[in-house]
């Protein structure tokens, strides 16, 4: 295996080509914030939190979808990137109805964690307060679109790992919503296998199991990659 050298935040790192910037940084304990990234499923580069500066490229590129190349000089910690991460976080919170104190995921939520990490003390943009539905028609799970951030991790897990493709995204712009089948109640789905992977993939309190109270919710996004890796071993 060939080895290449890249520089991240002034530090020289040896790595293999064909890895993404995100993989290399995480392997070397360099923190990169992400929301839509989930190990085990395809990356889509949608949340724009993992943007990095690369010398010689005038655009910011998403670390999760950009492969490393020899002698790449990368910065993940500039003031510009930090500022943009904060704006992105504020926009997440302003877009739908994220009220941590009454959310089932309070304390266990990746979005909440993100808010702490970027040091968000208040939101400078007006809340959009969209009218979002809550669907509790499934026997075991609930989807609450008020808490959804459109990371589409559930969609990808359902399609790529479970192979059910119950979830997809409808409409466009701020009208996008995660849907089950024909935008029909989850409980009436003909494709859902009730496997529960989407529950673990969801970073917020948008998809959760019924009969759970605040503080007890336990999400294990790591099991998705575990499953994927185990399947590879079987082959």
């Amino acid at each position: 295996m060939t080895t290449i050298t890249i520089q991240v935040n002034g530090k020289q790192l040896a790595t293999e080509p064909d890895k993404t910037i995100l993989e290399v940084c995480r392997a070397n304990d360099i923190e990169i914030l992400t929301m839509c990234h989930l190990k085990g499923v395809m990356d889509v580069g949608a949340c724009r939190l993992c943007l990095v500066e690369i010398e010689g490229i005038n655009k910011l590129l998403s670390a999760c979808t950009t492969k490393v190349a020899a002698n790449m000089v990368i910065r993940t910690d500039t003031e510009r990137i930090k500022k943009y991460q904060r704006i992105t976080t504020e926009l997440f919170f302003a877009e739908r109805n994220h009220v941590c104190s009454v959310c089932v995921a309070n304390g266990k939520c990746e979005l909440q964690q993100l808010g702490y990490k970027v040091g968000m003390d208040h939101i400078r943009y007006p809340f959009l307060y969209p009218k979002c539905e809550l669907d509790s028609s499934h026997a075991w799970y609930v989807i609450d679109h008020n808490r959804c951030i459109m990371c589409t991790r559930c969609v990808r897990v359902c399609n790529e790992v479970e192979g059910a493709h119950n979830w997809d995204v409808m409409n466009r712009g701020t009208q996008v919503r995660v849907i089950s089948d024909f935008n029909s109640p989850w409980g009436e789905s003909v494709t859902c296998t009730s496997c529960g992977k989407c529950v673990h993939a969801c970073p917020t309190g948008a998809i959760w199991p019924k009969a759970i109270v605040q503080g007890q919710l336990e999400k294990k996004p790591g099991i998705i990659n575990e499953l994927v890796e185990k399947r590879k071993m079987k082959l």
């Binding site: 889509v44 580069g45 949608a46 949340c47 724009r48 943007l51 655009k59 910011l60 590129l61 998403s62 979808t65 950009t66 492969k67 510009r80 500022k83 943009y84 704006i87 992105t88 926009l91 997440f92 302003a94 877009e95 400078r124 943009y125 007006p126 959009l128 459109m150 995204v169 409409n171 466009r172 712009g173 701020t174 009208q175 996008v176």
Partner: protein, 555 residues
């Protein structure tokens, strides 16, 4: 069909054309059709027949002639006399005086109602005189629905020459030499794009023609597809040969049924004549083209979104790299060029890259088609050498501002572009100059605004467009455009504050730099450019709450 057969067909078509003393062209572009040109065509054919002139006078429908708001247009060849606003009632009079009495009717000549002395030969009119037609060549002179008419203009000769005399490397070298840049808006050098696709090794490659002209106010691609579809098809086939692709797709907006119809007809005719399909002209080269109809999504003009749409999916963009040249349609190397770019390929190969590279400015070679619209006297379709000034386009070609108003700004590049104010009327229009002014060339829409136009409202209008057209995949574009729109709306209504304006500017730069694709990346452009050139209009709208009236900033 082999090479000799093509030559024979070309000779026959030319001979037939020359046997007619006169040709009357009736503009059947979408604009003239909606003004009733199809009835005029029918009536004219009857009129010629009733006078027994059908052997010396050929009547043909053609594509767009240019001055769209004067339609329906009828052109007499070889005199090149254009009559405007022809209808079923005055057509007999036109035939009588032009063909029999040989005395043109002055009051029906092109621009007769606005020029002191209209021109008998339309080419002498300033509207045409300053133009140079390359991509639009033959558009408005030939019948787009027959392949024979295209043969009279040496149709498919370039393809034949390429197949028999040039290697793919030669073709790419010639295109590079011409210095033509992508006409879709970004202006990436076409030759380099072709070379990149050529270099990737794959058993399957694709050529895509981007005809998803989504900018409001732009209709260049539509006119080219409607007026000379074979030219685009030939350009695609040549590109296929150069990059090593055997399959092409033309992605055309669903809003353009006539363009779709004519392009599909052209494919059928070319297929029948063996000019596309298997073993073209008896060579080893095979190339076929299918049409894909867009379903109304502006973002599909972005190449990765367009590819997703051809694959039958939601047209959401993907992060680049990888670029389509490496991994495009179904993961194969894919060349995507705009309609206008493909239309320019045939003239370049016929006349040589050298010829093309000498037109225009040092960094932007060739010509550019613009769709003139807005508060301008002569709106329509024009093609000018790069480097023509905005003043020449608006005042010499476009005939100045409607109703004697004053020029305030010209908007180029649609929702991804910006506004050019009056003080920059003498800017030489090319890719770099427009970027320096905070706008972009874009696909060529050019909307003229007069003193009544409210620039803050213009920015709001384009932001609303981008907000509606955002695919919703990435956060900056999905939420950022909505926030900016709301802030602009607030300012327009007179409720905005200094803080709102600051937020707006911060968001604009943020969305521009962080969005996933070109739509979000350019959505703030109309806002940023109006802020740059017309800041006063924003300042005068905002209020400062909590500050005593006498301390309010003077505006």
């Amino acid at each position: 069909m082999n090479r000799q057969d093509l030559q024979l067909l070309t000779d026959q078509a030319k001979e037939k054309k020359n046997s007619c003393k006169h040709t009357i062209c009736v503009c059947c572009g979408a604009s003239c059709i909606s003004s009733g040109s199809e009835e005029v065509l029918k009536k004219l054919e009857e009129e010629i027949k009733s006078r027994g002139l059908e052997n010396e006078v050929a009547v043909i429908p053609t594509g767009c002639m240019g001055p769209c708001n004067q339609g329906p247009l009828v052109k007499y060849m070889p005199e090149n006399t254009i009559y405007q606003k022809v209808d079923c009632d005055n057509i007999a009079r036109v035939v009588q005086s032009q063909l029999i009495d040989k005395k043109p009717i002055e009051d029906l000549l092109l621009f007769a109602d606005s020029r002191e002395k209209p021109f008998l030969n339309a080419e002498e009119d300033p509207f045409f005189k300053k133009q140079l037609k390359v991509a639009l060549l033959d558009c408005g002179d030939i019948n787009p629905e027959t392949i024979e008419d295209y043969f009279t203009r040496d149709g498919y000769k370039a393809l034949s020459d390429v197949l028999f005399r040039m290697s793919p490397e030669d073709v790419i070298a010639e295109i590079k030499h011409s210095r033509i840049r992508g006409r879709g808006g970004a202006g990436y050098p076409t030759g380099m794009k072709w070379e990149t696709v050529y270099k990737y090794v794959s058993d399957q490659k694709y050529v895509i023609c981007n005809g998803d002209e989504g900018d409001p106010g732009a209709f260049m691609d539509r006119s080219v597809l409607e007026g000379n579809p074979h030219r685009v098809l030939e350009g695609m086939a040549i590109a296929g040969y150069a990059v090593g692709a055997s399959k092409g797709y033309a992605y055309i907006r669903g809003e353009y049924p006539l363009a779709i119809k004519r392009f599909e007809l052209a494919i059928k005719q070319a297929r029948k004549n063996g000019l596309i399909g298997n073993n073209i002209l008896g060579t080893n080269f095979s190339f076929d083209v299918d049409v894909r109809i867009g379903a109304g999504a502006f973002v599909c003009g972005e190449e990765t979104a367009l590819i997703a749409s051809i694959e039958g999916k939601r047209g959401t963009p993907k992060p680049r790299p990888p670029f389509p040249a490496e991994s495009g349609l179904w993961g194969h190397p894919t060349l995507i060029n705009n309609v206008e770019t493909f239309a320019g390929i045939v003239p370049i190969l016929n006349k040589g890259g050298e010829w093309y590279s000498e037109i225009g400015t040092p960094k932007s070679a060739g010509t550019k088609v613009f769709a003139l619209a807005g508060k301008i006297n002569y709106s329509g379709l024009i093609e000018v050498p790069m480097g023509t000034t905005l003043r020449e386009i608006v005042f010499d070609i476009g005939g100045g501002i409607q109703g004697g108003g004053t020029f305030k700004a010209a908007q180029t590049g649609g929702p991804s572009g910006g506004c050019i104010p009056a003080e920059h009327l003498d800017v030489k229009m090319d890719y770099e100059a427009l970027v320096n002014l905070g706008s972009i060339m874009g696909s060529g829409g050019l909307i003229v605004m007069d003193q009544q136009s409210d620039m803050v409202d213009v920015a709001r209008y384009f932001m609303e467009f981008c907000m509606d057209e955002s695919c919703g995949k990435c956060v900056p574009c999905r939420v950022g455009t909505k926030m900016m729109h709301d802030l602009l709306h607030k300012i327009c209504a007179g409720n905005g504050t200094r803080i709102d304006l600051d937020r707006l500017e911060e968001l604009a730069v943020y969305v521009k730099e962080t969005s996933l694709c070109g739509l979000g990346g350019s959505a703030p452009n109309p806002l940023l450019s109006t802020l740059r050139h017309f800041r006063q209009e924003y300042e005068s709208r905002i209020t400062t709450p909590g500050v005593k009236k006498e301390l309010q900033p003077q505006s």
